[in-house]
């Protein structure tokens, strides 16, 4: 309840930002603000609930569209293109893309191009294409590298679009799930929900959650990082023990 209130407050503040001629307000809430990675983690779904509150004294419209965009921690990515060197295909041309989200999930209630016209989608950063900036310094091959990155990440479920992921429970109440893949990078994920009506943005709200290792996973990776030497020595001893044990087991037979 407290979280819901917090989200509501946040959403209201967002609605009050100057310059927003938005007639509606959006209240959103996530099912949890931490995705915990334990040893049985294979991916998770973060549920998102949202409620559209029409302006006081006005009736709700019947045709709201929802686009919920989730972005994982950003980073620098190098994209290589294989080229032929003599008989070998090796990494040749490369482009560095700055500030690329390591994870993008876009869920909406219908196809993005049906929700808003291209200019509005670009302006409001709707769709994978508009979220991944091209390589610095535009040359004619640059877009190739960007499309390749989107395709590669898509193959690993790290970039995904689901145009049928948002379900309306009532004309103003909706629900959706944000799919966090098992291979999703750790860190802070920002969720940005936009409400469109007749192709124009009418409200928005944001929230965030973290993907973190907990328990043994957290302890092991922290130990590996902080006490690398000790970790290596301990693991070697374990390996020697396993080898010795196996030789004992088989000696008896």
């Amino acid at each position: 309840m407290r979280r819901l209130l917090g989200a509501a407050l946040l959403a209201i503040c967002a609605g009050l930002r100057p310059g927003g001629a938005q007639a509606e307000k959006l209240i959103i809430s996530l099912s949890s603000d931490v995705v915990e990675i334990r040893s049985n983690f294979t991916g998770a779904q973060v549920a998102l609930f949202g409620s559209i509150v029409p302006e006081e004294g006005r009736a709700a419209r019947a045709n709201y569209d929802i686009v919920a965009t989730t972005r994982g921690p950003r980073g620098v990515v190098t994209v290589f293109e294989k080229q032929k060197f003599g008989p070998f295909w090796l990494n040749g041309e490369r482009r560095t893309l700055d500030d690329v989200p390591s994870f993008i999930a876009i869920v909406s209630n219908r196809a993005l191009d049906a929700i808003a016209p291209p200019e509005a989608r670009r302006a409001e950063q709707v769709g994978l294409e508009s979220l991944v900036a091209g390589p610095a310094g535009s040359d004619k091959d640059a877009p190739l590298f960007r499309t390749a990155l989107i395709r590669l990440r898509g193959d690993h479920q790290l970039f995904q679009e689901n145009p049928a992921g948002v379900r309306f429970l009532s004309p103003t109440l909706f629900q959706t799930g944000i799919p966090v893949a098992g291979t999703a990078p750790l860190g802070r994920y920002d969720v940005d929900v936009k409400v469109f009506a007749d192709g124009a943005l009418v409200a928005r709200g944001d929230a965030s959650f973290r993907v973190e290792k907990v328990g043994a996973e957290q302890w092991l990776s922290q130990t590996a990082l902080t006490y690398g030497l000790g970790y290596g020595v301990a693991l070697s001893l374990v390996a020697l023990f396993v080898g010795w044990l196996a030789s004992l087991v088989f000696r008896r037979e």
Binding site: N40, R74, N91, L149, R153, S236, G243
Partner: protein, 308 residues
């Protein structure tokens, strides 16, 4: 059943990884090699980041070679003296290899370096071993006398200074070439995630002409020590050794290795070398085909830094 790997940061199937460990362990036990040259590419193929695959090989090889070394030690088929000299070279090589590995990883050339080195190294070794063993098999079939090793006839490198006696191996040679070769193997081991047994075994047989009975045991002993060092060094510098992955692989491979050792004892020496050569060559060809055929996906991406 899936388990999330804390360092590789992705979930894998427990039984699949253990089966992989077992299959590789079988080959490892059969030929007295670490089996890393098979397992590393397999792990990369299943999606484990190359850096983690290479580094995690080390503890897994420690476990399998420990089992093997114990059984050879019981048969008194380990030349500890030669093993320690090999280790001295191997450690230096491993130390520099881990440094080179981290450097290449930062530059983004690691994949290329790994593929190309696999191709050249495995291709050369596989081909040499294969040709020699075919000759031996051919000679045996024709009933020809195999060239006998004559005392007093030595290659030039055996006569270099710092000569040392290795009674168990039946050697009296300079330690310079021994150190040099083990240095190269330690270096390759750290960079490629291999114990280097598939290089060391033929080197001990053909170049140093170590008594065949002690070759596999000595090789396992040296691999064991080098890989302990590699585990510690990779853990301390690149932090890419995944304990869960290592344990799963070990669990499978120590058992596979036992069956492999039984199978290995049942075949003739020249057939043994023929099979080893063939195996190494097949892996090399696999890498070669990948490198020369037009790739389906022309692009690859690597995240160089992530802000959390």
């Amino acid at each position: 059943m899936q388990i999330y790997l804390p360092i590789a940061e992705l979930p894998v199937d427990v039984f699949f990884i253990m089966m992989m460990g077992m299959a590789v362990g079988f080959i490892s036990g059969m030929f007295g090699v670490g089996g890393g040259f098979l397992l590393t590419p397999l792990l990369i193929f299943v999606g484990i980041p190359p850096a983690v695959a290479v580094a995690t090989q080390a503890p897994q090889i420690v476990a399998t070679s420990m089992t093997g070394a114990i059984s050879y030690w019981r048969k008194r088929a380990v030349d500890f003296r030669l093993g320690l000299v090999l280790l001295a070279g191997g450690l230096t090589g491993t130390f520099l290899g881990v440094g080179f590995f981290n450097w290449m990883r930062r530059l983004g050339h690691l994949d290329t370096v790994i593929s190309l080195s696999y191709l050249t190294l495995l291709g050369t070794v596989g081909l040499l071993v294969l040709v020699e063993s075919l000759r031996a098999i051919w000679a045996a079939r024709k009933g020809l006398a195999r060239p006998v090793r004559r005392g007093g006839r030595h290659a030039w490198y055996e006569g270099l200074p710092f000569k040392m006696r290795f009674p168990r191996s039946g050697l009296y040679i300079s330690i310079i070439p021994v150190l040099f070769v083990s240095f190269l193997i330690g270096f390759a081991g750290a960079v490629l995630g291999i114990g280097g047994g598939f290089i060391l075994v033929p080197v001990l047989i053909y170049i140093f002409r170590v008594r065949t009975a002690v070759v596999v045991g000595t090789s396992l002993f040296q691999i064991l020590l080098t890989m302990i060092a590699a585990t510690v060094m990779h853990s301390a510098s690149s932090h890419t050794v995944d304990i869960f992955l290592a344990l799963l692989l070990m669990g499978g491979s120590v058992f596979g290795a036992q069956f492999g050792a039984i199978a290995g004892a049942a075949i003739k020496a020249e057939h043994f070398r023929f099979l080893l050569g063939l195996l190494v060559l097949i892996v090399a060809v696999r890498f070669g085909v990948d490198l020369v055929s037009q790739p389906k996906e022309m692009f690859s991406a690597s995240a160089t830094e992530v802000r959390r």
